[in-house]
Symmetry: C7
Protein backbone atom coordinates (compact mmCIF):
# COMPACT_ATOMS: atom_id res chain seq x y z
CA UNK A 1 0.00 0.00 0.00
CA UNK A 2 1.25 3.44 -0.84
CA UNK A 3 1.49 6.23 1.68
CA UNK A 4 2.03 9.94 1.42
CA UNK A 5 3.81 12.03 4.03
CA UNK A 6 2.76 15.64 3.53
CA UNK A 7 5.48 18.28 3.71
CA UNK A 8 5.38 21.05 6.29
CA UNK A 9 2.19 22.04 8.11
CA UNK A 10 0.01 20.04 5.72
CA UNK A 11 -2.24 17.10 6.57
CA UNK A 12 -3.73 14.28 4.52
CA UNK A 13 -7.47 13.85 4.96
CA UNK A 14 -10.20 11.58 3.57
CA UNK A 15 -13.54 13.15 2.72
CA UNK A 16 -16.39 11.46 4.59
CA UNK A 17 -19.30 10.10 2.62
CA UNK A 18 -22.86 10.91 3.64
CA UNK A 19 -23.35 7.59 5.47
CA UNK A 20 -20.21 8.16 7.51
CA UNK A 21 -21.25 11.54 8.83
CA UNK A 22 -22.20 11.42 12.50
CA UNK A 23 -25.90 10.75 13.04
CA UNK A 24 -27.95 13.66 14.28
CA UNK A 25 -24.92 15.60 13.41
CA UNK A 26 -23.91 18.26 11.06
CA UNK A 27 -26.02 19.14 8.07
CA UNK A 28 -24.54 21.61 5.67
CA UNK A 29 -27.10 23.99 4.20
CA UNK A 30 -27.56 23.81 0.44
CA UNK A 31 -27.61 27.54 0.11
CA UNK A 32 -24.22 28.32 1.64
CA UNK A 33 -21.83 29.56 -1.01
CA UNK A 34 -18.78 27.93 0.49
CA UNK A 35 -19.86 24.73 2.20
CA UNK A 36 -17.41 23.16 4.61
CA UNK A 37 -17.14 19.40 4.39
CA UNK A 38 -16.50 16.69 6.92
CA UNK A 39 -13.28 14.75 6.57
CA UNK A 40 -11.09 12.47 8.64
CA UNK A 41 -7.41 13.11 9.26
CA UNK A 42 -5.36 10.26 7.73
CA UNK A 43 -1.82 11.48 8.40
CA UNK A 44 0.04 14.54 9.60
CA UNK A 45 2.84 16.27 7.76
CA UNK A 46 6.46 16.66 8.75
CA UNK A 47 5.58 19.91 10.51
CA UNK A 48 6.64 23.48 9.91
CA UNK A 49 9.15 25.47 11.92
CA UNK A 50 8.58 28.66 13.87
CA UNK A 51 11.03 31.57 13.81
CA UNK A 52 13.20 29.93 16.51
CA UNK A 53 13.47 26.70 14.55
CA UNK A 54 11.11 24.72 16.81
CA UNK A 55 8.64 22.41 15.16
CA UNK A 56 5.08 23.73 15.22
CA UNK A 57 2.76 21.13 16.75
CA UNK A 58 -0.40 20.12 14.94
CA UNK A 59 -3.74 20.95 16.54
CA UNK A 60 -5.35 17.90 14.94
CA UNK A 61 -4.38 14.24 15.26
CA UNK A 62 -4.87 11.18 13.10
CA UNK A 63 -8.47 10.00 13.24
CA UNK A 64 -9.95 13.43 14.06
CA UNK A 65 -13.12 14.29 12.19
CA UNK A 66 -12.69 17.81 10.88
CA UNK A 67 -14.56 20.47 8.96
CA UNK A 68 -12.63 21.63 5.92
CA UNK A 69 -13.19 24.38 3.43
CA UNK A 70 -14.78 22.99 0.27
CA UNK A 71 -12.20 24.38 -2.12
CA UNK A 72 -9.02 23.99 -0.06
CA UNK A 73 -6.31 21.42 -0.73
CA UNK A 74 -5.24 19.26 -3.64
CA UNK A 75 -7.00 16.02 -4.56
CA UNK A 76 -5.06 12.80 -4.84
CA UNK A 77 -6.25 9.20 -5.13
CA UNK A 78 -4.21 6.59 -3.24
CA UNK A 79 -5.03 2.87 -3.53
CA UNK A 80 -8.50 3.80 -4.69
CA UNK A 81 -9.31 6.27 -1.94
CA UNK A 82 -10.05 9.94 -2.59
CA UNK A 83 -7.75 11.95 -0.38
CA UNK A 84 -6.82 15.58 0.01
CA UNK A 85 -3.55 17.20 0.97
CA UNK A 86 -4.30 20.50 2.62
CA UNK A 87 -2.75 23.06 4.91
CA UNK A 88 -3.79 22.72 8.55
CA UNK A 89 -4.91 26.35 8.40
CA UNK A 90 -7.65 25.27 5.98
CA UNK A 91 -9.21 23.14 8.70
CA UNK A 92 -12.02 25.10 10.35
CA UNK A 93 -12.65 22.91 13.37
CA UNK A 94 -12.71 19.47 14.95
CA UNK A 95 -16.05 17.66 15.09
CA UNK A 96 -16.83 15.58 18.18
CA UNK B 1 -25.29 16.06 20.26
CA UNK B 2 -22.44 17.09 18.00
CA UNK B 3 -19.94 19.76 18.90
CA UNK B 4 -17.31 21.65 16.93
CA UNK B 5 -14.06 22.91 18.37
CA UNK B 6 -12.78 25.65 16.07
CA UNK B 7 -9.08 25.62 15.26
CA UNK B 8 -6.83 28.54 16.13
CA UNK B 9 -8.19 32.01 16.91
CA UNK B 10 -11.65 31.13 15.57
CA UNK B 11 -14.93 31.10 17.48
CA UNK B 12 -18.28 29.41 16.92
CA UNK B 13 -21.26 31.75 17.11
CA UNK B 14 -25.04 31.52 16.73
CA UNK B 15 -26.81 34.31 14.89
CA UNK B 16 -29.51 35.88 17.04
CA UNK B 17 -33.04 36.10 15.69
CA UNK B 18 -34.96 39.38 15.82
CA UNK B 19 -36.91 38.40 18.98
CA UNK B 20 -33.68 37.57 20.80
CA UNK B 21 -32.09 40.93 20.22
CA UNK B 22 -31.97 43.02 23.38
CA UNK B 23 -35.03 45.24 23.83
CA UNK B 24 -34.46 48.96 23.32
CA UNK B 25 -31.24 47.81 21.89
CA UNK B 26 -29.46 47.87 18.67
CA UNK B 27 -31.26 48.52 15.43
CA UNK B 28 -29.25 48.10 12.30
CA UNK B 29 -30.10 50.63 9.60
CA UNK B 30 -31.52 49.22 6.38
CA UNK B 31 -29.37 51.44 4.27
CA UNK B 32 -25.96 50.35 5.55
CA UNK B 33 -24.10 48.43 2.90
CA UNK B 34 -22.40 46.08 5.29
CA UNK B 35 -24.72 45.51 8.24
CA UNK B 36 -23.20 43.95 11.32
CA UNK B 37 -25.32 41.29 12.98
CA UNK B 38 -25.85 40.26 16.56
CA UNK B 39 -24.69 36.78 17.50
CA UNK B 40 -23.91 34.78 20.63
CA UNK B 41 -20.58 33.07 21.23
CA UNK B 42 -21.15 29.31 21.48
CA UNK B 43 -17.59 28.06 21.84
CA UNK B 44 -14.01 29.30 21.60
CA UNK B 45 -11.30 27.78 19.46
CA UNK B 46 -8.07 26.12 20.52
CA UNK B 47 -6.33 29.48 20.39
CA UNK B 48 -3.52 30.81 18.25
CA UNK B 49 0.08 31.28 19.29
CA UNK B 50 2.07 34.51 19.37
CA UNK B 51 5.67 34.73 18.17
CA UNK B 52 6.98 33.46 21.51
CA UNK B 53 4.75 30.41 21.43
CA UNK B 54 2.34 31.66 24.10
CA UNK B 55 -1.36 31.08 23.54
CA UNK B 56 -3.22 34.25 22.58
CA UNK B 57 -6.18 34.76 24.91
CA UNK B 58 -9.62 35.39 23.51
CA UNK B 59 -11.25 38.75 24.15
CA UNK B 60 -14.71 37.18 24.07
CA UNK B 61 -16.13 34.39 26.22
CA UNK B 62 -18.90 31.84 25.75
CA UNK B 63 -22.30 33.49 26.07
CA UNK B 64 -21.13 36.96 25.00
CA UNK B 65 -23.46 38.79 22.64
CA UNK B 66 -21.32 40.15 19.84
CA UNK B 67 -21.60 42.24 16.70
CA UNK B 68 -20.19 40.42 13.69
CA UNK B 69 -19.56 41.46 10.14
CA UNK B 70 -22.39 40.26 7.91
CA UNK B 71 -20.19 38.46 5.41
CA UNK B 72 -17.53 37.02 7.69
CA UNK B 73 -17.18 33.37 8.63
CA UNK B 74 -18.40 30.05 7.25
CA UNK B 75 -21.93 28.76 7.83
CA UNK B 76 -22.49 25.36 9.34
CA UNK B 77 -25.66 23.73 10.70
CA UNK B 78 -25.26 21.57 13.82
CA UNK B 79 -28.21 19.65 15.26
CA UNK B 80 -30.54 21.99 13.42
CA UNK B 81 -28.96 25.24 14.57
CA UNK B 82 -27.45 27.76 12.16
CA UNK B 83 -23.96 28.46 13.35
CA UNK B 84 -20.93 30.31 12.05
CA UNK B 85 -17.24 29.61 12.45
CA UNK B 86 -15.39 32.89 12.22
CA UNK B 87 -12.09 34.48 13.13
CA UNK B 88 -12.20 36.49 16.35
CA UNK B 89 -10.86 39.44 14.36
CA UNK B 90 -14.19 39.51 12.48
CA UNK B 91 -16.00 40.34 15.73
CA UNK B 92 -16.50 44.09 15.92
CA UNK B 93 -17.54 44.41 19.54
CA UNK B 94 -19.29 42.96 22.57
CA UNK B 95 -22.88 44.05 23.24
CA UNK B 96 -23.96 44.57 26.85
CA UNK C 1 -29.50 51.28 27.60
CA UNK C 2 -27.27 49.11 25.40
CA UNK C 3 -23.55 49.53 25.14
CA UNK C 4 -20.94 48.17 22.77
CA UNK C 5 -17.35 47.48 23.74
CA UNK C 6 -15.29 47.38 20.56
CA UNK C 7 -12.72 44.60 20.23
CA UNK C 8 -9.04 45.33 19.80
CA UNK C 9 -7.77 48.71 18.61
CA UNK C 10 -11.24 49.84 17.54
CA UNK C 11 -13.23 52.78 18.88
CA UNK C 12 -16.91 53.66 18.90
CA UNK C 13 -17.67 57.16 17.62
CA UNK C 14 -20.75 59.30 17.03
CA UNK C 15 -20.87 61.42 13.88
CA UNK C 16 -21.39 65.08 14.70
CA UNK C 17 -24.28 66.94 13.12
CA UNK C 18 -23.70 70.28 11.42
CA UNK C 19 -24.92 72.29 14.44
CA UNK C 20 -22.52 70.47 16.72
CA UNK C 21 -19.43 71.27 14.69
CA UNK C 22 -17.23 73.84 16.38
CA UNK C 23 -18.09 77.42 15.41
CA UNK C 24 -15.57 79.16 13.19
CA UNK C 25 -14.18 75.75 12.85
CA UNK C 26 -13.63 73.21 10.22
CA UNK C 27 -15.45 73.37 6.94
CA UNK C 28 -15.04 70.46 4.65
CA UNK C 29 -14.87 71.42 0.96
CA UNK C 30 -17.65 70.04 -1.25
CA UNK C 31 -15.22 69.13 -3.95
CA UNK C 32 -12.98 66.81 -1.97
CA UNK C 33 -13.40 63.28 -3.18
CA UNK C 34 -12.93 61.71 0.22
CA UNK C 35 -14.26 64.13 2.80
CA UNK C 36 -13.26 63.51 6.38
CA UNK C 37 -16.02 63.95 8.93
CA UNK C 38 -16.11 65.19 12.48
CA UNK C 39 -17.10 62.70 15.13
CA UNK C 40 -16.90 62.30 18.89
CA UNK C 41 -15.29 59.32 20.58
CA UNK C 42 -17.96 57.45 22.61
CA UNK C 43 -15.93 54.50 23.89
CA UNK C 44 -12.57 52.83 23.43
CA UNK C 45 -12.00 49.19 22.58
CA UNK C 46 -10.33 46.51 24.65
CA UNK C 47 -7.00 47.41 23.05
CA UNK C 48 -4.64 45.50 20.85
CA UNK C 49 -1.35 43.90 21.86
CA UNK C 50 2.12 44.66 20.55
CA UNK C 51 4.64 41.94 19.75
CA UNK C 52 5.73 41.74 23.41
CA UNK C 53 2.18 41.24 24.62
CA UNK C 54 1.80 44.74 26.06
CA UNK C 55 -1.48 46.54 25.50
CA UNK C 56 -1.20 49.32 22.92
CA UNK C 57 -2.50 52.57 24.38
CA UNK C 58 -5.07 54.60 22.51
CA UNK C 59 -4.07 58.02 21.22
CA UNK C 60 -7.64 59.26 21.59
CA UNK C 61 -9.85 59.36 24.68
CA UNK C 62 -13.59 59.39 25.28
CA UNK C 63 -15.05 62.79 24.38
CA UNK C 64 -12.35 63.71 21.86
CA UNK C 65 -13.60 65.35 18.68
CA UNK C 66 -11.90 63.60 15.80
CA UNK C 67 -11.66 63.72 12.03
CA UNK C 68 -12.50 60.38 10.48
CA UNK C 69 -12.33 59.08 6.97
CA UNK C 70 -15.74 59.22 5.34
CA UNK C 71 -15.86 55.59 4.29
CA UNK C 72 -14.11 53.95 7.24
CA UNK C 73 -15.82 51.86 9.88
CA UNK C 74 -19.11 50.00 10.21
CA UNK C 75 -22.39 51.75 10.99
CA UNK C 76 -24.50 50.63 13.91
CA UNK C 77 -27.51 52.27 15.56
CA UNK C 78 -27.70 52.00 19.36
CA UNK C 79 -30.74 53.33 21.25
CA UNK C 80 -31.54 55.55 18.30
CA UNK C 81 -28.07 57.03 17.86
CA UNK C 82 -26.04 56.58 14.69
CA UNK C 83 -22.67 55.25 15.72
CA UNK C 84 -19.62 53.87 13.97
CA UNK C 85 -17.17 51.19 15.03
CA UNK C 86 -13.84 51.93 13.40
CA UNK C 87 -10.18 51.16 13.75
CA UNK C 88 -8.18 53.86 15.52
CA UNK C 89 -5.92 53.96 12.47
CA UNK C 90 -8.86 55.37 10.49
CA UNK C 91 -8.87 58.48 12.70
CA UNK C 92 -6.91 61.21 10.95
CA UNK C 93 -6.56 63.65 13.80
CA UNK C 94 -7.96 65.20 16.97
CA UNK C 95 -9.82 68.51 16.66
CA UNK C 96 -9.37 71.09 19.42
CA UNK D 1 -9.30 79.20 16.19
CA UNK D 2 -9.50 75.45 15.60
CA UNK D 3 -6.51 73.18 15.53
CA UNK D 4 -5.98 69.61 14.41
CA UNK D 5 -3.45 67.26 15.94
CA UNK D 6 -2.81 64.48 13.44
CA UNK D 7 -2.63 60.93 14.78
CA UNK D 8 0.50 58.80 14.40
CA UNK D 9 3.18 59.59 11.83
CA UNK D 10 0.97 62.07 10.00
CA UNK D 11 1.57 65.79 9.51
CA UNK D 12 -0.65 68.74 8.71
CA UNK D 13 0.53 70.86 5.79
CA UNK D 14 -0.65 73.94 3.91
CA UNK D 15 -0.30 73.97 0.13
CA UNK D 16 1.74 76.96 -1.03
CA UNK D 17 0.26 79.29 -3.61
CA UNK D 18 2.28 80.26 -6.66
CA UNK D 19 3.33 83.62 -5.21
CA UNK D 20 4.65 81.94 -2.07
CA UNK D 21 6.94 79.55 -3.91
CA UNK D 22 10.59 80.50 -3.50
CA UNK D 23 11.84 82.82 -6.22
CA UNK D 24 14.21 81.28 -8.73
CA UNK D 25 13.07 78.11 -7.20
CA UNK D 26 11.26 75.03 -8.17
CA UNK D 27 9.15 74.87 -11.28
CA UNK D 28 7.13 71.77 -11.78
CA UNK D 29 6.92 70.63 -15.40
CA UNK D 30 3.44 70.58 -16.93
CA UNK D 31 4.02 67.25 -18.54
CA UNK D 32 4.81 65.22 -15.42
CA UNK D 33 2.04 62.78 -14.73
CA UNK D 34 2.33 63.01 -10.98
CA UNK D 35 3.43 66.53 -10.10
CA UNK D 36 4.76 67.07 -6.60
CA UNK D 37 3.60 70.26 -4.92
CA UNK D 38 5.20 72.64 -2.49
CA UNK D 39 3.64 72.86 0.95
CA UNK D 40 4.53 74.12 4.40
CA UNK D 41 4.38 71.96 7.51
CA UNK D 42 1.79 73.38 9.92
CA UNK D 43 1.87 70.79 12.70
CA UNK D 44 3.29 67.36 13.46
CA UNK D 45 1.29 64.37 14.60
CA UNK D 46 1.48 62.49 17.87
CA UNK D 47 4.10 60.20 16.36
CA UNK D 48 4.16 56.50 15.65
CA UNK D 49 5.95 53.84 17.65
CA UNK D 50 8.69 51.50 16.49
CA UNK D 51 8.77 47.81 17.43
CA UNK D 52 10.40 48.58 20.79
CA UNK D 53 7.71 51.10 21.70
CA UNK D 54 9.92 54.14 21.18
CA UNK D 55 8.39 57.16 19.46
CA UNK D 56 9.62 57.59 15.89
CA UNK D 57 10.98 61.11 15.42
CA UNK D 58 9.77 63.23 12.54
CA UNK D 59 12.25 64.17 9.83
CA UNK D 60 10.40 67.41 9.17
CA UNK D 61 9.60 70.25 11.55
CA UNK D 62 6.94 72.95 11.69
CA UNK D 63 7.66 75.63 9.08
CA UNK D 64 9.59 73.37 6.71
CA UNK D 65 8.81 73.82 3.04
CA UNK D 66 8.29 70.37 1.60
CA UNK D 67 7.55 68.65 -1.69
CA UNK D 68 4.51 66.42 -1.46
CA UNK D 69 2.95 63.96 -3.83
CA UNK D 70 0.02 65.56 -5.63
CA UNK D 71 -2.52 62.91 -4.74
CA UNK D 72 -1.44 62.05 -1.20
CA UNK D 73 -3.29 62.99 1.96
CA UNK D 74 -6.79 64.11 2.83
CA UNK D 75 -8.01 67.67 2.31
CA UNK D 76 -9.52 69.62 5.17
CA UNK D 77 -10.36 73.31 5.49
CA UNK D 78 -9.68 74.91 8.89
CA UNK D 79 -10.66 78.54 9.55
CA UNK D 80 -10.68 79.18 5.82
CA UNK D 81 -7.31 77.65 5.05
CA UNK D 82 -6.87 74.67 2.74
CA UNK D 83 -4.88 72.09 4.62
CA UNK D 84 -3.87 68.48 4.10
CA UNK D 85 -3.35 65.69 6.58
CA UNK D 86 -0.82 63.28 5.13
CA UNK D 87 1.57 60.57 6.17
CA UNK D 88 5.18 61.75 6.56
CA UNK D 89 6.16 59.01 4.09
CA UNK D 90 4.26 60.94 1.40
CA UNK D 91 6.69 63.85 1.76
CA UNK D 92 9.38 63.53 -0.91
CA UNK D 93 11.84 66.09 0.37
CA UNK D 94 12.53 69.33 2.20
CA UNK D 95 13.02 72.48 0.11
CA UNK D 96 15.63 75.00 1.23
CA UNK E 1 27.25 15.15 -18.52
CA UNK E 2 25.83 18.47 -17.40
CA UNK E 3 24.50 19.10 -13.93
CA UNK E 4 22.48 21.87 -12.39
CA UNK E 5 22.77 22.98 -8.78
CA UNK E 6 19.59 24.85 -7.89
CA UNK E 7 19.96 28.07 -5.90
CA UNK E 8 18.38 28.48 -2.50
CA UNK E 9 15.54 26.30 -1.26
CA UNK E 10 14.91 24.88 -4.75
CA UNK E 11 15.21 21.26 -5.86
CA UNK E 12 15.69 19.57 -9.22
CA UNK E 13 13.19 16.81 -9.94
CA UNK E 14 12.44 14.42 -12.79
CA UNK E 15 8.80 13.77 -13.66
CA UNK E 16 7.97 10.08 -13.47
CA UNK E 17 6.44 8.41 -16.48
CA UNK E 18 3.34 6.23 -16.10
CA UNK E 19 5.33 2.98 -16.09
CA UNK E 20 7.56 4.28 -13.31
CA UNK E 21 4.74 5.10 -10.95
CA UNK E 22 4.56 2.69 -8.01
CA UNK E 23 2.32 -0.29 -8.72
CA UNK E 24 -0.95 -0.33 -6.83
CA UNK E 25 -0.07 3.17 -6.08
CA UNK E 26 -1.33 6.60 -6.74
CA UNK E 27 -3.81 7.31 -9.49
CA UNK E 28 -4.56 10.89 -10.16
CA UNK E 29 -8.20 11.55 -11.05
CA UNK E 30 -8.83 12.97 -14.51
CA UNK E 31 -11.32 15.44 -13.19
CA UNK E 32 -9.13 17.25 -10.71
CA UNK E 33 -8.44 20.78 -11.86
CA UNK E 34 -4.94 20.91 -10.50
CA UNK E 35 -3.50 17.41 -10.65
CA UNK E 36 -0.37 16.77 -8.63
CA UNK E 37 2.26 14.69 -10.38
CA UNK E 38 4.76 12.13 -9.19
CA UNK E 39 8.40 13.05 -9.57
CA UNK E 40 11.76 11.96 -8.22
CA UNK E 41 14.19 14.29 -6.51
CA UNK E 42 17.39 14.50 -8.58
CA UNK E 43 19.36 17.08 -6.60
CA UNK E 44 18.90 19.55 -3.77
CA UNK E 45 19.70 23.24 -3.94
CA UNK E 46 22.30 25.19 -2.02
CA UNK E 47 19.74 25.85 0.69
CA UNK E 48 18.16 29.02 2.00
CA UNK E 49 19.02 30.80 5.24
CA UNK E 50 16.72 31.51 8.17
CA UNK E 51 16.70 34.84 10.00
CA UNK E 52 19.67 33.82 12.13
CA UNK E 53 21.77 32.91 9.12
CA UNK E 54 21.50 29.14 9.63
CA UNK E 55 20.95 26.98 6.58
CA UNK E 56 17.41 25.63 6.34
CA UNK E 57 17.51 21.85 5.97
CA UNK E 58 15.57 20.20 3.19
CA UNK E 59 12.67 17.90 4.11
CA UNK E 60 13.27 15.80 1.01
CA UNK E 61 16.40 13.93 -0.07
CA UNK E 62 17.77 12.77 -3.40
CA UNK E 63 15.83 9.76 -4.66
CA UNK E 64 12.59 10.61 -2.82
CA UNK E 65 9.43 10.15 -4.84
CA UNK E 66 7.35 13.26 -4.36
CA UNK E 67 4.00 14.71 -5.33
CA UNK E 68 4.37 18.10 -6.99
CA UNK E 69 1.89 20.70 -8.09
CA UNK E 70 1.24 20.39 -11.82
CA UNK E 71 2.03 23.98 -12.66
CA UNK E 72 4.90 24.69 -10.28
CA UNK E 73 8.53 25.05 -11.29
CA UNK E 74 10.42 25.76 -14.47
CA UNK E 75 11.08 23.11 -17.12
CA UNK E 76 14.60 22.40 -18.29
CA UNK E 77 15.98 19.57 -20.41
CA UNK E 78 19.44 18.25 -19.42
CA UNK E 79 21.18 15.58 -21.48
CA UNK E 80 17.83 14.59 -22.93
CA UNK E 81 15.93 14.31 -19.67
CA UNK E 82 12.93 16.48 -18.81
CA UNK E 83 13.62 18.06 -15.47
CA UNK E 84 12.01 20.71 -13.32
CA UNK E 85 13.55 23.25 -10.99
CA UNK E 86 11.02 24.06 -8.30
CA UNK E 87 10.80 25.50 -4.82
CA UNK E 88 10.63 22.88 -2.06
CA UNK E 89 7.42 24.56 -0.89
CA UNK E 90 5.79 23.40 -4.14
CA UNK E 91 6.28 19.77 -3.09
CA UNK E 92 3.08 18.52 -1.50
CA UNK E 93 4.35 15.29 0.03
CA UNK E 94 6.69 12.34 -0.10
CA UNK E 95 5.36 9.08 -1.56
CA UNK E 96 6.46 5.81 0.04
CA UNK F 1 19.70 78.64 -5.61
CA UNK F 2 17.16 76.19 -4.25
CA UNK F 3 18.03 72.79 -2.88
CA UNK F 4 15.99 69.73 -2.01
CA UNK F 5 16.91 67.28 0.73
CA UNK F 6 15.08 64.03 0.01
CA UNK F 7 13.44 62.27 2.94
CA UNK F 8 14.43 58.76 3.98
CA UNK F 9 16.29 56.40 1.67
CA UNK F 10 15.64 58.59 -1.39
CA UNK F 11 18.20 60.33 -3.59
CA UNK F 12 18.06 63.27 -5.96
CA UNK F 13 19.50 62.58 -9.41
CA UNK F 14 19.98 64.47 -12.67
CA UNK F 15 19.33 62.62 -15.92
CA UNK F 16 22.37 62.67 -18.19
CA UNK F 17 22.01 63.97 -21.73
CA UNK F 18 23.37 61.95 -24.65
CA UNK F 19 26.54 64.04 -24.91
CA UNK F 20 27.30 63.52 -21.23
CA UNK F 21 27.19 59.74 -21.40
CA UNK F 22 30.63 58.17 -21.08
CA UNK F 23 32.35 57.65 -24.43
CA UNK F 24 32.65 54.06 -25.56
CA UNK F 25 30.21 53.47 -22.85
CA UNK F 26 26.74 52.28 -22.41
CA UNK F 27 24.28 52.19 -25.25
CA UNK F 28 20.75 51.32 -24.38
CA UNK F 29 19.03 49.15 -26.97
CA UNK F 30 15.98 50.66 -28.64
CA UNK F 31 14.04 47.47 -28.33
CA UNK F 32 14.19 47.02 -24.57
CA UNK F 33 10.78 47.53 -23.06
CA UNK F 34 12.03 49.13 -19.89
CA UNK F 35 15.22 51.03 -20.73
CA UNK F 36 17.39 52.07 -17.80
CA UNK F 37 18.83 55.56 -18.03
CA UNK F 38 22.09 57.10 -16.96
CA UNK F 39 21.88 59.73 -14.27
CA UNK F 40 24.17 61.47 -11.80
CA UNK F 41 23.53 61.56 -8.07
CA UNK F 42 23.00 65.17 -6.95
CA UNK F 43 22.22 64.69 -3.27
CA UNK F 44 21.44 61.94 -0.79
CA UNK F 45 18.41 61.82 1.48
CA UNK F 46 18.26 61.95 5.26
CA UNK F 47 18.50 58.17 5.35
CA UNK F 48 16.14 55.48 6.59
CA UNK F 49 16.42 53.55 9.82
CA UNK F 50 16.80 49.81 10.24
CA UNK F 51 14.90 47.83 12.89
CA UNK F 52 17.46 48.73 15.57
CA UNK F 53 17.15 52.45 14.85
CA UNK F 54 20.51 52.74 13.11
CA UNK F 55 20.73 54.85 9.99
CA UNK F 56 21.01 52.79 6.81
CA UNK F 57 24.02 53.92 4.81
CA UNK F 58 23.67 54.79 1.16
CA UNK F 59 25.44 52.61 -1.41
CA UNK F 60 25.82 55.56 -3.77
CA UNK F 61 27.49 58.90 -3.19
CA UNK F 62 27.12 62.37 -4.68
CA UNK F 63 28.61 62.47 -8.18
CA UNK F 64 28.14 58.77 -8.91
CA UNK F 65 26.90 57.95 -12.40
CA UNK F 66 24.10 55.49 -11.98
CA UNK F 67 21.67 53.43 -14.05
CA UNK F 68 18.08 54.06 -13.06
CA UNK F 69 14.83 52.47 -14.04
CA UNK F 70 13.12 54.57 -16.71
CA UNK F 71 9.82 54.90 -14.89
CA UNK F 72 11.00 55.23 -11.28
CA UNK F 73 10.93 58.39 -9.22
CA UNK F 74 9.15 61.72 -9.36
CA UNK F 75 10.21 64.51 -11.69
CA UNK F 76 10.96 67.96 -10.36
CA UNK F 77 12.60 70.98 -11.99
CA UNK F 78 14.92 73.05 -9.78
CA UNK F 79 16.54 76.25 -11.11
CA UNK F 80 15.92 75.03 -14.64
CA UNK F 81 17.40 71.57 -14.21
CA UNK F 82 15.36 68.39 -14.67
CA UNK F 83 15.82 66.31 -11.57
CA UNK F 84 14.31 63.16 -10.15
CA UNK F 85 13.64 62.15 -6.57
CA UNK F 86 13.78 58.38 -6.37
CA UNK F 87 14.24 55.58 -3.90
CA UNK F 88 17.79 54.19 -3.77
CA UNK F 89 16.28 50.76 -4.44
CA UNK F 90 15.32 52.02 -7.91
CA UNK F 91 18.99 52.45 -8.79
CA UNK F 92 20.20 49.37 -10.66
CA UNK F 93 23.92 49.96 -10.56
CA UNK F 94 26.85 52.36 -10.52
CA UNK F 95 28.57 53.11 -13.82
CA UNK F 96 32.36 53.52 -13.81
CA UNK G 1 35.95 50.24 -21.04
CA UNK G 2 32.85 50.89 -18.94
CA UNK G 3 31.81 48.79 -16.00
CA UNK G 4 28.65 48.54 -13.97
CA UNK G 5 28.56 47.63 -10.30
CA UNK G 6 25.05 46.44 -9.51
CA UNK G 7 23.47 47.68 -6.28
CA UNK G 8 22.38 45.30 -3.55
CA UNK G 9 21.78 41.61 -4.18
CA UNK G 10 21.85 42.08 -7.97
CA UNK G 11 24.29 40.55 -10.44
CA UNK G 12 25.36 41.43 -13.95
CA UNK G 13 25.17 38.56 -16.43
CA UNK G 14 25.85 37.99 -20.13
CA UNK G 15 23.43 35.82 -22.08
CA UNK G 16 25.20 32.91 -23.74
CA UNK G 17 24.80 32.41 -27.47
CA UNK G 18 23.88 29.00 -28.87
CA UNK G 19 27.48 28.15 -29.79
CA UNK G 20 28.64 28.95 -26.27
CA UNK G 21 26.25 26.59 -24.56
CA UNK G 22 28.00 23.52 -23.14
CA UNK G 23 28.14 20.64 -25.59
CA UNK G 24 25.92 17.70 -24.76
CA UNK G 25 24.38 20.07 -22.37
CA UNK G 26 21.15 21.75 -21.77
CA UNK G 27 18.51 22.05 -24.43
CA UNK G 28 15.52 24.13 -23.61
CA UNK G 29 12.29 22.75 -24.99
CA UNK G 30 10.50 24.96 -27.51
CA UNK G 31 7.16 24.35 -25.91
CA UNK G 32 7.94 25.61 -22.41
CA UNK G 33 6.06 28.79 -21.72
CA UNK G 34 8.79 30.36 -19.62
CA UNK G 35 12.12 29.11 -20.92
CA UNK G 36 15.11 29.63 -18.69
CA UNK G 37 18.25 30.80 -20.46
CA UNK G 38 21.91 30.14 -19.94
CA UNK G 39 24.04 33.10 -18.96
CA UNK G 40 27.42 33.80 -17.44
CA UNK G 41 27.93 35.90 -14.33
CA UNK G 42 29.99 38.99 -15.22
CA UNK G 43 30.03 40.81 -11.89
CA UNK G 44 28.41 40.68 -8.48
CA UNK G 45 26.60 43.55 -6.80
CA UNK G 46 27.52 45.38 -3.63
CA UNK G 47 25.45 42.91 -1.64
CA UNK G 48 22.37 43.28 0.50
CA UNK G 49 22.22 43.32 4.28
CA UNK G 50 20.39 40.92 6.55
CA UNK G 51 18.41 42.08 9.59
CA UNK G 52 21.56 42.18 11.73
CA UNK G 53 23.39 44.39 9.25
CA UNK G 54 25.67 41.63 7.97
CA UNK G 55 26.30 41.46 4.24
CA UNK G 56 24.48 38.58 2.56
CA UNK G 57 26.95 36.46 0.60
CA UNK G 58 26.27 35.63 -3.02
CA UNK G 59 25.66 31.99 -3.96
CA UNK G 60 27.13 32.57 -7.40
CA UNK G 61 30.57 33.84 -8.38
CA UNK G 62 31.98 35.60 -11.42
CA UNK G 63 32.31 33.15 -14.32
CA UNK G 64 29.52 30.81 -13.16
CA UNK G 65 27.23 29.58 -15.90
CA UNK G 66 23.70 30.02 -14.62
CA UNK G 67 20.12 29.39 -15.66
CA UNK G 68 18.03 32.54 -15.52
CA UNK G 69 14.36 33.19 -15.94
CA UNK G 70 13.66 34.45 -19.46
CA UNK G 71 11.83 37.58 -18.40
CA UNK G 72 13.80 38.62 -15.33
CA UNK G 73 16.19 41.53 -15.12
CA UNK G 74 16.81 44.70 -17.09
CA UNK G 75 18.72 44.76 -20.37
CA UNK G 76 21.69 47.03 -20.81
CA UNK G 77 24.35 47.16 -23.55
CA UNK G 78 27.91 47.92 -22.40
CA UNK G 79 30.73 48.31 -24.93
CA UNK G 80 28.66 46.40 -27.46
CA UNK G 81 27.77 43.46 -25.22
CA UNK G 82 24.20 42.58 -24.29
CA UNK G 83 24.08 42.32 -20.54
CA UNK G 84 21.40 41.94 -17.93
CA UNK G 85 21.17 43.30 -14.40
CA UNK G 86 19.05 40.95 -12.36
CA UNK G 87 18.33 39.98 -8.79
CA UNK G 88 20.20 36.90 -7.60
CA UNK G 89 16.83 35.42 -6.64
CA UNK G 90 16.00 35.31 -10.37
CA UNK G 91 18.82 32.83 -10.93
CA UNK G 92 17.40 29.31 -10.89
CA UNK G 93 20.61 27.31 -10.68
CA UNK G 94 24.28 26.95 -11.51
CA UNK G 95 25.22 24.83 -14.55
CA UNK G 96 28.33 22.67 -14.32
Amino acid sequence: MSTITPLGQRVLVKRLQAEEISAGGIVLPDTAQEKPQEAEVVSLGLGGKDEDGNTIEFSVKVGDKVLISKYGGTEVKIDGEDLLILSESDILGIVA
